[in-house]
């Protein structure tokens, strides 16, 4: 064993021990603390631990945790390393490699950390779901991220990308090869200008295209027809337990990535997707204080748009929990980028550290809501027994999930 590999091996051992202690003391996965320990004891360990392995990176504003979980399920490889808990920055990625198996690697990657992750892990493929406004107090501008992706993806052997999002297609074109998936894009407000030349980008019934340069929607290799994933000579039924049209798009991207690995029978892979019932607690159904809760995450306008569509047929009460801490982004102005009118007529309870922001937002859309300070238990206390949708943005969702899982 070389000095480097023995140092990494010892660091990995210590990181796993640290993760175990963290799990016992604080709950959670301990992935992030493991990552800190690994990198402190063996700088460069991420590169060492991914050398010679089949690495898939998954990034995008929305759907990356779900695509990662679906890809892992579809691969059906119990020896792989991944970060299913959504710890997707440097420490989370390092921690996943420290605590995961020694087989293939599937890593959800924060949008801003993609250039670093590509440089460190030299992935065989990168999956790009979509790119839209999120945490603008941290990322500032959508196009700046697209520019950084394009630079990072130059030389990457393969990108599996959503053909319906111009902000994803343009950086994907920098890779050596592309597999295009028509994964859908309900949110189009960040695609009014062409990411390549800045001129107007127009949408029509057959796709999108720049009015000035030659950037336009590429012909997809994979697309959805109803609940079937279709390719040139392939039709694969998708039977997901995860709700929503957007999760069919996520599944399509995941299966396209699995197909690109070779060696996995795609129909078998698709059948394994039905075993994914929740993703890091999202869509999880929990019995809590006489109520049947469905837990959901909405952390930006594009995510809200999808969730409001998903919730539209239902009329059960809704608890909305809203913070603006750290990874939530400090500026909740984006609440005004999406219409909450679909919630009119439903019983809506609001809480969280920025509950007042959300109360005002709902008032301007004529949505009646009740502010209930405190915990999820306090919120459901005022609701009749039965089904309740609980929707939180990032930190609010994590806190709510912990509470309802405790019972």
């Amino acid at each position: 064993m070389t000095d480097v590999s023995s140092r990494v091996g010892m660091a990995r051992y210590a990181a796993r021990a640290a993760a175990g202690v963290a799990r016992r003391l604080r709950g959670g996965s301990g992935t992030v603390i493991a990552g800190h320990v690994l990198e402190a004891l063996a700088p460069g360990a991420v590169e060492a631990l991914t050398t010679g392995r089949d690495v898939t990176l998954v990034t995008g504003t929305n759907g990356k945790t779900s695509i990662t979980a679906l890809t892992v399920a579809a691969l059906g490889d119990e020896h792989l390393a991944s970060n299913p808990d959504g710890a997707n920055t440097r420490a989370g990625i390092a921690g996943a490699l420290a605590t995961g198996g020694d087989g293939a690697v599937v890593l959800e990657t924060d949008e801003g950390w993609l250039p670093w992750a590509v440089a460190q892990t030299r992935p065989a493929r990168v999956v790009l779901s979509n790119l839209s406004r999120d945490q603008l107090s941290r990322h500032h501008e959508v196009r700046a991220l697209a520019v950084s992706w394009r630079a990072a993806l130059a030389g990457v052997p393969l990108v599996i990308a959503n053909a319906d999002d111009p902000a994803v297609v343009w950086p994907a074109l920098a890779a050596r090869r592309q597999v295009w998936v028509a994964a859908g894009a309900r949110w189009t407000a960040d695609a009014a200008t062409c990411p390549a030349c800045g001129r107007a980008c127009r949408r029509g019934p057959t796709g999108w295209g720049c009015t000035s340069c030659d950037l336009r929607r590429p012909r997809p290799h994979w697309w959805l027809e109803g609940n079937d994933l279709c390719g040139e000579d392939t039709r694969i039924p998708l039977r997901l337990d995860l709700p929503g049209r957007f999760n069919l798009g996520n599944a399509a991207l995941a299966l396209a990535a699995v197909d690109a690995t070779g060696g996995v029978q795609l129909h078998d892979a698709a059948r394994r997707l039905a075993d994914v019932h929740a993703v890091a607690g999202r869509y999880q159904r929990v019995r809590f204080r006489g109520h049947d809760l469905r837990m959901m995450l909405a952390k930006n306008p594009a995510g809200w748009l999808e969730l409001l569509d998903l919730m539209a047929p239902d009329r059960c009460p809704v608890v909305l929990v809203f913070n603006a801490d750290g990874v939530d982004g400090r500026d909740p102005s984006w609440l005004y980028d999406v219409s909450f009118a679909p919630l009119r007529g439903r019983t809506v309870v609001v809480q969280g550290r920025r509950a007042t922001d959300l109360m005002v937002r709902l008032e301007l859309d004529d949505v009646e809501a009740r502010l209930v300070r405190g915990s999820i238990a306090d919120a459901v206390w005022v609701l009749p027994a039965g089904r309740v949708d609980v929707v939180g943005n990032y930190t609010a969702f994590q806190t709510a999930l912990k509470e309802v899982r405790r019972g």
Binding site: R133, A189, T193, A200, S333, L335, T356
Partner: protein
């Protein structure tokens, strides 16, 4: 007081990245609460800015969207005169578009509409965070609260006056000033959205466009103002620490 107001939202597809659509919502909400019906006209990329509305609103946007908005607006010879003749709110990129010129992320200068006697440059560092200002020569408007996220500066000349003096945050990046007032135009770097967090400023614009308005207080909005000012205004924090 007018019975109906027409509010024009200029290029919301390009100038609407930071929730500034909320400014139009705040205006309509507060007008309708006084019995003034509102008609909102959203101007798309291929559409001409209406000439005779009551109130015009421009929001913020990213660099590339701002440049496309500049090209679009400059192609209309009358748009500067229209905005200058009517009550207008311009936020962030909107402010820069109404100035003589502004710089993009590479430092290249671009021409604005020249409606404001203002030249916009680049701050050394991006300004991101809560802002509190004291309005200038607007006795009916109390402290302004908002959130800034911009790299642009604004240097005011001759006939342009500041909207406020900075208490917390960066603002224009010159002389501790924030925003611009000139003629019928009020411009600011504040998001939040600024008219949601500052109903008195919304009412000022409405009264300029529609005439005097009856009192209207929105307890939820007042609570939001209090929360944001308690967090961001150092004078309030000092008072809190000193117990008065």
């Amino acid at each position: 007081m007018a019975d109906e107001l027409t509010i024009v939202h200029v290029l919301p597809d390009l100038l609407g990245t930071y929730g500034d659509r909320g400014n139009v919502l705040a205006l309509t909400h507060r007008a309708e609460a006084r019995g003034v019906a509102c008609r909102v006209v959203e101007v798309g990329l291929d559409e001409r800015v209406p000439r005779t509305a009551d109130l015009y609103v421009l929001g913020g946007g990213e660099d590339s969207a701002q440049l496309l908005a500049a090209r679009t607006l400059l192609a209309d010879d009358l748009v500067a005169a229209v905005l200058g003749a009517h009550t207008t709110l311009a936020v962030c990129a909107g402010l820069q578009l109404l100035a003589h010129g502004f710089e993009d992320s590479t430092g290249t200068r671009h021409q604005g509409l020249g409606l404001l006697d203002v030249e916009c440059g680049r701050l050394e560092e991006r300004a991101v965070g809560e802002v509190v200002t004291e309005p200038v020569d607007l006795p009916e408007v109390p402290s302004l609260t908002g959130y800034e996220n911009h790299r642009g500066s604004a240097r005011l000349h001759g006939s342009a006056r500041p909207l406020g003096r900075v208490v917390a945050g960066v603002g224009n990046g010159h002389d501790d000033l924030e925003g611009v007032q000139q003629g019928h135009v009020i411009a600011t770097y504040l998001h939040g959205p600024v008219l949601v967090r500052n109903p008195a400023l919304a009412d000022l614009l409405l009264s300029r466009a529609a005439g005097p308005l009856p009192e209207y207080e929105d307890p939820e909005v007042e609570e939001l103002r209090k929360e944001r000012l308690d967090v961001a205004d150092p004078r309030r924090r000092r008072r809190h620490l000193l117990g008065y």
